[in-house]
């Protein structure tokens, strides 16, 4: 690894953090405006144009609030939970590719922070860790409602981890690779993963809701039942970290679902020809520059897809009521889990006889 690669990696880390955190701020705005739009209200509209600066105002408010720690909490874990909760979704985002490799000064720079041969497994590993800050936070704050919330979160996230993992496994069977770049190329050549394997797409999509604690499955928070669940005792910036982590996890999940099932950074199957045509309009001779310009299209298309799935998250949240705890468990263990297992078998047969024949 030479200097350019190290510098590029550092720049990528900074960019990923900066873009995701800005996107988080924008997403909270989008959530509130979207909710207001669905509910026939106006939403934030006072701070800045269209209330766009509202997240900034909120952030300032969060910073200046008193940082309160409950007396009988376990202080170390109480403070560790919000830090962990934001770190983990960021770590999961490390190996998601946002475009093809970039070429700068004869160096090939992958458009993701870490390049692993088995990138998808790393993502799954880190999403599996997401349950820990919730459990730690709920337990350490020494509140019965919080403990209930963290217990709910633990069982829910573990239940849905399995069906999510199995849905993913069936997609790995189809693509025949762990490399997410390869998966996107496969979809570019053939068709989107959601058409090859719609059951897995549905299971994965629903499991994402349970994993990120969004509304039909927001029972760990359940503000009318167990008040605010695991982050009941958190205030000021510590609460904001929990809040932000939800959005980072949503962005990560959107990127993941876009990559696995909806063509990732290639806008539509076969659309790259059009993109290449547009790039050719600039009539630049250098193939490398053309390739790098092409990457901008890819970045745009994955951002578009992430934005769409974020909107779906918001849309669903403000439409449906909440599940009951045991109903969600029933759905996870009794329906999605067997379905996902059967689907793995089915996809094994399909990929053996039709795809890799």
């Amino acid at each position: 690894m030479d200097l350019i690669n190290i510098v590029a990696t550092l720049i990528k880390i900074i960019l990923l953090f900066a873009i995701s955190l800005t996107a988080v701020a924008f997403c909270t705005w989008l959530e509130r405006r979207g909710a207001a739009w669905i509910q026939g209200r106006r939403g934030p509209c006072r701070v800045g144009p269209f209330g766009l600066l509202q997240p900034v105002a909120d952030g300032i408010k969060f910073f200046f609030k008193e940082s309160f720690v409950p007396e009988k909490s376990n202080k170390f874990f109480y403070l560790a939970a919000p830090i962990l909760t934001l770190t983990i979704p960021f770590l999961a985002m490390v190996s998601i590719p946002f475009a093809e490799n970039l070429y700068i000064l004869n160096h090939e720079i992958p458009m993701r922070i870490a390049r692993f041969d088995s990138g998808i497994l790393l993502v799954i590993a880190f999403t599996g860790l997401e349950v820990y800050p919730v459990m730690i936070g709920g337990w350490a704050s020494n509140n019965k409602f919080s403990v209930l919330g963290s217990l709910r979160a633990a069982s829910q996230m573990i239940a849905y981890e399995i069906s999510m993992g199995l849905a993913l496994l069936s997609m790995i069977l189809v693509y025949g690779t762990f490399d997410m770049n390869e998966m996107v190329r496969f979809q570019e050549k053939w068709m989107w993963g959601c058409f090859i394997n719609p059951i897995a797409a549905l299971i994965f999509w629903f499991s994402i809701f349970a994993e990120t604690n969004r509304l039909p499955c927001d029972i760990p928070e359940g503000e009318s039942e167990i008040v605010a669940g695991y982050h009941l005792e958190y205030g000021a910036m510590k609460f904001a970290l929990f809040f932000m982590s939800e959005y980072v996890a949503m962005i990560m999940a959107s990127a993941l679902i876009a990559t696995l099932f909806f063509g990732g950074y290639s806008l539509l199957p076969g659309f790259s020809l059009v993109e290449k045509g547009i790039v050719a309009l600039f009539s630049i001779r250098s193939e490398i520059v053309n390739h790098n310009l092409f990457i901008i299209f890819q970045l745009l298309s994955i951002f578009l897809k992430i934005a769409f799935f974020m909107f779906v998250f918001i849309w669903v949240r403000w439409t449906l009521p909440r599940f009951r705890f045991d109903q969600l468990m029933d759905l996870g263990w009794k329906i999605l889990f067997p379905l996902a297992l059967a689907n793995v078998l089915l996809m094994g047969i399909v990929s053996y006889f039709f795809i890799y024949r």
Partner: protein
């Protein structure tokens, strides 16, 4: 001999094991944890306290505590004159203040043996049906809100605001109306009421349709509400429930039809009855009752437009003269002074009058021994009777179900504690 710390702790635990407090000390580490839902919990929507002993998510034992909003209204009825007590009726079931106003005015009128004018009666009926809609909106929307469907809350609350704007046009206030007076209403209705009512009657059912597309056939909503908090027909009668809760359990009883007051006997409307008595049926009954109220409103509006007689009953004992006459005519001023400084002289006797409130039977029982104040005043509040049956209903259900049952009963703390 000095004890070591370890020994002291051991002794304390030994002692406390025998004491009553031991259970409380170890609650947190006990599988049967004790949890307080309320008095300030987001789902109680008022100050109630449900002490629940949990096993995991299941509520094994409950104990309820009421009285956080007790203001001694019945006692106040004995020290305030009949007119002064009107303001207190607003604060009983503050979601439908008008029905309380009118029911109280009816009771006093029955004591005085006054029959109000036709115009006043139609205005009162419009008021009652409007406030029934408002109260049902609150119950259905809050019930949905407690189960996470916030959008329904906002969509319906818009229509609640419209209704409140109409009420504001009638009496100048939105929540605490104090509109009725003994023998009449404080103001006549504004001219634009009929237009507004017509608009409301046209558009509000559409909002209800919208809500029903979001909830009635929603799988999650059905799973959450069907079979939850089931109250059998016998139990519903045994616990003396009334109103939508009783009708959802399959008892076909509505005071408006079975013991008609005012012109409900001449009005065309259906009594909504369901079978199962669960949260889902209560929701359906309330939704359909809102549609029936719209039907009644349409008819009442038509009748009111043709009833152009006087608003006030022609009885010098209760008649409140116009302000302009009070300022310009001597006799009228004296009359006004006497009515408000001394109060009206109600003949000795007792009366119980009940109307069909949105939650159930709202009744006032007044014992008078003459003079301007009641000797004893008693309020029959449906929330109080509904709340007593809840203690048994939520045993053995999960916390989310307890919340949805609480929402479906529409317990209003102001009415519960009085």
């Amino acid at each position: 001999m000095k004890k070591t710390i370890k020994e002291t702790i051991k002794e304390t635990i030994k002692e406390s094991k025998n004491s009553v407090d031991y259970k409380n000390i170890t609650d947190f580490y006990n599988p049967n944890i004790l949890i307080n839902i309320g008095p300030s919990h987001p789902a109680t929507h008022g100050t109630l306290r449900l002490m629940c002993q949990l096993n995991g998510e299941v509520i094994e034992d409950t104990k309820f505590e009421i009285g956080y909003l007790h203001r001694g209204k019945e006692k106040l009825g004995e020290v305030k004159t009949y007119h002064q007590w009107f303001v207190y009726t607003d604060r009983l079931n503050y979601c439908s203040a008008l029905i309380n106003n009118i029911a109280y005015a009816m009771t006093v009128e029955n004591l005085l043996e006054i029959s109000i004018t036709a115009r006043c009666m139609w205005i009162r009926m419009i008021c009652m049906e409007l406030s029934r809609i408002i109260d049902h909106i609150i119950c259905v929307a809050i019930n949905a809100l407690d189960m996470g469907a916030l959008t329904i809350f906002w969509h319906l609350y818009r229509w609640r605001e419209e209704a409140y704007t109409m009420i504001e046009g009638m009496c100048g206030m939105r929540l605490t109306t104090t509109y009725a007076r003994i023998g009449g209403m404080f103001y006549d209705v504004p001219e634009d009421l009929h237009d507004n009512l017509k608009k409301f009657c046209e558009r509000f059912p559409k909002a209800l349709d919208e809500m029903e597309t979001l909830l009635t056939t929603n799988r999650i909503w059905i799973d959450r509400t069907k079979g939850v908090g089931r109250l059998s027909k016998e139990d519903a009668i045994k616990y003396s429930t009334s109103g939508p809760v009783l009708r959802a359990s399959g008892v076909d009883f509505d005071l408006r039809r079975d013991r008609p007051y005012y012109a409900y006997a001449d009005i065309d409307f259906d009594v909504v009855v369901a079978n199962n008595g669960d949260v889902y049926d209560r929701y359906l009954v309330r939704t359909e009752e809102m549609r029936q109220s719209i039907r009644i409103l349409k008819q009442c509006s038509k009748h009111l437009q043709s009833a152009n007689g006087p608003l006030w009953v022609d009885d010098r004992r209760v008649f409140i003269p116009d302000k302009i006459d009070v300022y310009t005519k001597m006799e009228v001023m004296i009359h006004h002074f006497k009515i408000f400084m001394e109060g009206i002289d109600v003949p000795p006797g007792e009366n119980y009058t009940a109307v069909e409130g949105p939650n159930g039977e709202v009744g006032f029982y007044i014992v008078s021994r003459g003079g301007p104040k009641a000797w004893r005043l008693r309020i029959k509040a449906p929330s109080f009777l509904h709340f007593q049956m809840m203690e048994n209903t939520i045993k053995g259900v999960k916390i989310p179900d307890a919340i949805s049952i609480l929402g479906s009963l529409n317990i209003i703390a102001g009415e519960l504690d009085r």
